[in-house]
Amino acid sequence: MKIAPPLDLSVCIGKLELKNPVIAASGTFGYGQEFENFIDLSQLGAIIPKGISLSPMQGNSPPRIFETNGGILNSIGLQNPGFQAFAKEKLPYLKKIKTNLIINFFGKTQKEYVELARRLDSLDGIAGLEMNISCPNVKQGGIVFGSDPRMTYLLVSSVRKSSELPFIVKLSPNVTDISAIARSAEEGGADAVSLVNTFRAIAINIYSKKPELGNIIGGLSGPAIKPIALRMVWEVSQAVKIPVIGIGGIMKAEDAIEFILAGASAIQIGTGNLINPNTGIEVINGIKQYLLQNGMGRIRELIGLFKV
C-alpha cells in the first residue's frame, strides 16, 4: 500500500512563510477574539485584524451595512481605537495566537503612514504589515494614494524605508488599470500586493428615495464581486513578480482554488467570515481534499496553473 506523504500547504509572502494560504481579511475579523468561540484561530495561515490609524477614528454614521444580491454594501468608515489603544488593549491577545499576525494600517498623509509603520515596526509579535491605500469609505483612507501609480510609488517607497517587516500593499479595484498600481507598489519595494478591496457602490431605497447607507456610497464585497476580483488577480499576477494575495467573495475552497490557479500565492477571506465564522477552516480542509484528489503534495504547485 502506498502511503501519501503529508500535504504541504505552506506558502511564502516575501520572507514571510505561512503554514497555509488562508488569511482572515482586515475589517471582517474584528480583533481575532470575536472568533475564539467558533474556531481554533491558530489553524489560519495568518490573521489581519481591523485596520488601525495613528489616532482613533469614530467611523461613519449608520446605517453602515446593506445586503444586496450576493453581496454586502458597507460604509463602516475605518472606525478604530487608534495605535496606542490598539497596542495596549488588542495586541496582547492577538500576539498569543499561534499564527502570523499581519497589521493593516492607513493614514491621512504620507507622514502619518510612515510614522505608523515605524511605530508598528517597534512592536513585538507582528509578522508583517498590510498597508491600506484603498478604503472606498473615507476620503482620508488612503484611496488618494491608491489611485495614482506615481503616488503609490512615492508612498510605498517611503514606508518601505521605515519598516523591516514583510510589507503587503492592499489595492483598490476602483482604478482604470490595477496592474499599473501593482507595478508601482512593486517598484516602491512592496513584498506583496493584496487585492481587491471593495468596489464603490450605492443602493437606493425606492420608497424614501434616500440612500440605504448613511454615508451614501459604500464598498461592495461578497460573492457578487468574485469574478471581477478574479480577473484582476489574474492580470496583476502576470504584471508583477512579487506574490499576489487574492481577495474577493471567497466563500468556499473552490473559490480559493480559482484564485490560486489565477496566480494568487495566498488568499484572504472577508465577507465569508461574517456569515460563517468557520469559513477559513473549511477552505483549508477543502484545499487539502482538492490536492489529494489531484495527486498533488504541495499547494505551491497549484499557483498560477490557470491554462489559457
Binding site: 471582517t28 468561540n37 449608520p62 454586502i72
Partner: protein, 270 residues
C-alpha cells in the same frame, strides 16, 4: 458563550397574518440564554440571502425531557417581511438550520424583591424579547403596553398572567385607538416620577424615539432593546452601530455592546 451550531426545526407555524412561530431543537443554545439575547440564523445554504438574520429569543425551554438526554427548545417569533423571513416561512419539520447564539448582553433584571413597578412597552415582534423577560419576573407590579398598526400586530398579550396589559392599535381594531406611546402617556400618572421604576422597551425605531421624548423621569431605570441591520451579529464587522454618549467610542455595536442599552446612553438620530 456564543457558539455556532445546527438545530432541528420542530415546528414552524403561522400564528396570525404574517407572524410565525419557529420552534427549534437546539440544546446548546437553549440552555444558555437569558432574556433580551438573540440568535443569528442562516435562512439559506446558498448565498441568497447572503447574511444571517438576527432574531430575539422568544422562549427557551431547557431539558424538556431528561429521559431523552439533554434537550432544549428555542422559540423564535418572526414577521414575514423580506427575503430571509420568506425563506424561513418555508422551513419544514426536521430541517437542519445553522445558528449562532446566544448573542448580545440581554436585559438587566430588576432587583428582587422590588417595591417599584416594572413596565414593559413593545410593538410587533419586539414583544418577543419582552415576553421572555416577563416570564422571569416573579414579584412586584407588572404593567405591559402592547402596540401595533392593527389587531393582527398585537402579539404575546396572553403571556403576562401576573401583569396588567394595555393594548393600543393605530386603526382602533383592538384596544385603545392610537399608538402605544400615546396610550402609555395617558397612563403615565400611575407611575411616580421620583421612584426608580424599571422600564423595558422593545419595538420599531419610531416607537423608541417617541418614548425617549415622553419619558422625562430621571429616576426611572429605562432599558431599550434595539433593532439594527447586522452583518455578523458577534461584534466583528462594526456594521450595526448606534450613536451613544460614550465619549471615547461614540458608535457602539448593537450586536455586541447591546442590543440592550440604557435609554439615557443612546443618541437616536434621523
Amino acid at each position: 458563550m456564543a457558539i455556532q451550531t445546527n438545530g432541528i426545526v420542530l415546528k414552524n407555524i403561522k400564528i396570525k397574518s404574517i407572524y410565525f412561530l419557529l420552534e427549534i431543537d437546539c440544546p446548546s443554545i437553549a440552555n444558555e440564554t437569558k432574556p433580551g439575547q438573540f440568535v443569528m440564523l442562516r435562512t439559506s445554504d446558498d448565498n441568497h440571502p447572503l447574511l444571517r438574520r438576527p432574531f430575539s429569543i422568544y422562549k427557551s425551554h431547557s431539558n424538556l425531557d431528561p429521559r431523552k438526554g439533554k434537550r432544549g427548545h428555542l422559540f423564535i417569533l418572526y414577521k414575514k417581511v423580506g427575503k430571509g423571513t420568506q425563506k424561513m416561512s418555508t422551513f419544514k419539520e426536521g430541517q437542519k438550520i445553522n445558528l449562532i447564539g446566544p448573542l448580545g448582553n440581554g436585559f438587566i433584571l430588576p432587583p428582587l424583591p422590588s417595591s417599584t413597578a416594572t413596565i414593559l412597552i413593545g410593538g410587533g415582534v419586539g414583544m418577543a424579547s419582552l415576553s421572555a423577560l416577563g416570564e422571569t419576573l416573579g414579584f412586584g407590579e407588572l404593567y405591559v403596553f402592547i402596540g401595533g398598526k392593527t389587531k393582527d400586530d398585537i402579539l404575546c398579550e396572553d403571556n403576562f398572567p401576573k401583569g396588567k396589559v394595555f393594548i393600543a392599535t393605530e386603526d382602533g381594531s383592538r384596544g385603545k385607538k392610537g399608538t402605544v406611546v400615546d396610550f402609555f402617556l395617558s397612563e403615565i400618572k400611575r407611575f411616580d416620577r421620583d421612584r426608580p421604576h424599571h422600564v423595558y422597551i422593545c419595538g420599531p425605531e419610531g416607537m423608541v424615539k417617541s418614548l425617549a421624548k415622553v419619558i422625562k423621569s430621571k429616576k426611572w431605570i429605562v432599558q431599550v432593546s434595539l433593532e439594527a441591520r447586522m452583518g455578523c451579529g458577534f461584534g466583528a464587522c462594526w456594521g450595526c452601530v448606534v450613536k451613544t454618549r460614550n465619549n471615547e467610542m461614540a458608535y457602539r455595536r448593537v450586536c455586541k455592546d447591546g442590543p440592550v442599552f440604557p435609554l439615557s446612553e443612546i443618541v437616536l438620530e434621523r
